[in-house]
Point group: C2
Chain length 109, copies 2
C-alpha cells in the first residue's frame, strides 16, 4: 500500500484534499499552498506514481484530478485491516483471553 506512504506527507495530503473538491492546474495548487510550484509538481509526480491522481494536458496548463480508484484501493485496504482486527478480537474472546473482553466495554483512564 504505497498510497499510504504518499499521503503520509502533510503537503501531499493537502494537495490531494484540494484536488478532491475539483481538478486544478499545478500553479493553481501552488497558489493555495505555502510551497513553490516545483515542489507541488514533484508531489504530484509521487501522487501520480501511486495511482492517486491523474493528469490531463489542457493547452499550456496541466489539469490534475483525483483518481477515484486510488481512494477505493485505500478503503479496501483499511476495510481488510478492520475485518482482521474484528476477527482477531473475536478469537481472543473465544479463547477466554480476558484482556480482550476488558477492552470491550469499559474505557477507564
Amino acid at each position: 500500500m504505497a498510497a499510504l506512504g504518499a499521503l503520509g506527507d502533510p503537503t501531499r495530503r493537502a494537495i490531494f484534499e484540494l484536488l478532491v473538491t475539483r481538478p486544478r492546474a499545478v500553479g493553481e495548487l501552488a497558489n493555495e499552498l505555502p510551497v513553490s510550484r516545483p515542489a507541488v509538481s514533484q508531489h504530484l509526480k509521487v501522487l501520480k506514481e501511486v495511482g492517486l491522481v491523474t493528469d490531463h494536458a489542457q493547452g499550456t496548463r496541466r489539469l490534475y484530478r483525483v483518481e477515484r480508484r486510488g481512494i477505493a484501493a485505500l478503503r479496501e485496504y483499511l476495510d481488510r485491516l478492520w475485518d482482521d482486527a474484528l476477527l482477531a478480537f473475536a478469537t481472543e474472546v473465544e479463547r477466554g483471553d480476558d484482556t480482550a473482553a476488558e477492552n470491550a466495554d469499559k474505557e477507564q483512564s
Copy 2:
C-alpha cells in the same frame, strides 16, 4: 489525520499489520522485523500517540494491541474523501464539463 502520517512509514505499517492479527509484546515484534527492539519501541510510541495502538503492562512484558477506534477514524476520513470526490465529479458532469464525462467509462492509455 495524523494517523495517516504514522502509517506512512513502512516499518510502522508492518508493526501495525502484525498487531492487527493478534496482540504482541515489543520483543516479539522485534523478532519478526529487521530492526532493533528500541526502534520498535519508538515506532510503537508514535502509533500510540496517534491513537492507533494501546499498551497494557503484563508482568515484565508489555502487550500492544490495535485500537479499533483508530482504524475506524481512518475509514471515516477516507469515506469523506470518497464522498467529496463523488460529489465533485457529479457537479462537474452536471456543468457539462466533458473531461469528467470522458473519465467515466473509457480508460484509454
